[in-house]
């Protein structure tokens, strides 16, 4: 080290400097008294701290607790989108009988979101004039009722079946027209006054269409002839899917909206107050008896699907011809 003071010498000086320092005789006693004092202070301090912490927790809970429910607007969960279900309890067994025989089909497709109409609905619908308005179901109501739309956006229909050209179920007929220039079906809805349209690419002109409540749910569907090939007419169906929304109906497996006869095969479909049905007939040779299968249809979320097994009827060619046509509403 460059300085003159060596570390050993400094150590000696420091120790010598503090050599006179002696511990006081009662130092240990003082320390123990301090320990005891600290111990006794600790208890109330800890208790006070605990109380303060509990109060803070309570205040925090009160602060973050959500407001009471009456101050909040709770939106109800929207039910799934519409599907129409035709009642099958009074579906006719065969078209030839024309009566209201027992159903040959099942009791509706599982998973269908729209409950089937009550069994008394057809008779009620048959006896109730279309202009009758349900007092408990105002036109603007969105509450889905039995046999109603079943969709959150669909209002409750005024009558079942729907009145003439009443696509939106408000009891007033809507303007339905085919725009041949743009190949669109345009509907002016009386409920909102708005015009909605659906594209029909490949629409073969001239065409015809019918507006009819095919599944008796209070909303009229639109059947449009889209093409005619080899004596067979092809049709498509449009329905009121939501407020101001018109949508084409998807055809389920084995369902084809066709009408006509070619060679020894014939196709058709029809609807009445009991619902919709599909007709398909075959004959072994041209001009002989036809074996006609009539299958009930229902409109579900998935589209237009068969509802149960069809009934088979043997009928002469002359009688079968009347089955092989689109007998659902009035086409124009």
């Amino acid at each position: 080290m460059s300085s003159g003071l060596e570390p050993e010498e400094l150590t000696r000086l420091l120790r010598a400097a503090v050599e006179p320092v002696r511990a006081s005789p009662d130092a240990l006693h003082r320390i123990r008294a301090g320990v005891e004092r600290r111990r006794w202070w600790r208890l109330p301090l800890m208790a006070t701290g605990g109380v303060a912490m509990a109060a803070l927790i309570v205040l925090a809970i009160v602060a973050v607790r959500p407001k009471s429910s009456n101050q909040q607007v709770v939106e109800p969960a929207a039910p799934p989108l519409v599907s129409s279900v035709l009642s099958e309890t009074s579906r006719p067994a065969t078209p030839s009988t024309g009566g209201s025989g027992g159903s040959n089909g099942g009791n509706g497709v599982p998973g269908s979101t729209r409950p089937p109409r009550a069994t008394s609905s057809p008779s009620v619908a048959a006896t109730t004039p279309p202009s009758t308005v349900s007092p408990s179901s105002p036109p603007a109501s969105s509450t889905p009722g039995p046999g109603g739309s079943g969709a959150a956006d669909l209002p409750t229909p005024v009558t079942r079946p729907a009145g003439a050209s009443d696509v939106d179920g408000d009891g007033i007929g809507d303007q339905v027209r085919v725009n041949e220039t743009t190949s669109k079906i345009e509907v002016t809805l009386s409920r909102s006054g708005r015009t909605t349209s659906v594209d029909l690419p490949g629409l073969q002109l001239p065409t015809v269409h019918a507006v009819v409540d095919a599944n008796v749910d209070g909303f009229a569907e639109i059947l449009v002839r889209t093409a005619t090939r080899d004596g067979i007419e092809e049709y498509t169906m449009l329905r009121y899917a939501a407020r101001d929304v018109l949508a084409p109906v998807t055809l389920g497996p084995g369902v084809r909206l066709s009408a006509g006869q070619r060679d020894n095969a014939g196709f058709g479909f029809g609807c009445d107050e009991t619902g919709m049905r599909l007709v398909a007939g075959t004959s072994s040779t041209v001009g002989t008896d036809f074996q006609v299968v009539t299958t009930p249809l229902q409109l579900t979320l998935e589209g237009l699907v068969t509802a149960g097994q069809g009934t088979t009827t043997q009928m002469p060619a002359s009688g079968a011809n009347s089955q092989f046509r689109a007998s659902c509403g009035v086409f124009s």
Partner: protein, 185 residues
């Protein structure tokens, strides 16, 4: 306060375990007192200028160590913690002069014989006066290194600084003391 290695958070203990720790702390307190109390008071005396305050600081350090005994993971480091606490309390005392007459009348330390005491007091006065004129950090470094015989690493731990800083403080402090104590050698 600088934290000494070996401390850990207080785990939840049962009453029996707490009693055992308290008994252990009482026994350790007595042992630490008999072995190190005087040296710690002398250490404090070099850092402070009042014997009464020195004792108070050391007693307070003992009380704190006793209260924290349950959190001391390595009991062998109790002396290190005591030293660190003494240094920190001395700093606080010098800085704020708050530790004053907390307890009842402070007794004077046991005095040496008149002749010895007179000589020692003269020498002490000279070296201690020179020490007090040093900056606080330098004074602490010199005292810890040359009075307490601590290594640079231990001194750095107690002072809460790096070993390099301790070297620098010590070197500067020693050089300054050399000039001040030239006449005594």
């Amino acid at each position: 306060m600088t934290v000494v290695e070996g401390w850990r958070p207080v785990p939840a203990r049962s009453d029996a375990a707490r009693s055992a720790v308290a008994r252990d702390a009482d026994a350790a307190l007595t042992a630490l007192y008999s072995e190190h109390y005087r040296s710690l008071v002398r250490l404090a005396a070099l850092l402070l200028d009042d014997i009464g305050l020195c004792e108070e600081v050391v007693q307070d350090a003992y009380i704190r160590v006793h209260g924290a005994w349950g959190r001391l993971q390595d009991r062998d480091k109790a002396l290190a913690y005591l030293r660190q606490t003494v240094v920190n309390l001395a700093r606080s005392t010098l800085r704020r002069r708050l530790v004053a007459l907390k307890h009842a009348p402070k007794p004077m330390p046991d005095a040496a014989s008149a002749e010895e005491g007179a000589y020692s007091l003269v020498e002490r006065a000279a070296v201690v006066q020179a020490l007090r004129e040093l900056p606080r950090r330098q004074r602490e470094a010199v005292v810890l290194r040359y009075y307490a015989d601590m290594s640079e690493a231990d001194a750095a731990a107690v002072m809460g600084c790096s070993v390099g800083s301790v070297k620098a403080y010590t070197s500067r402090g020693l050089a300054a003391l050399s000039g001040k104590l030239e006449g005594l050698r």
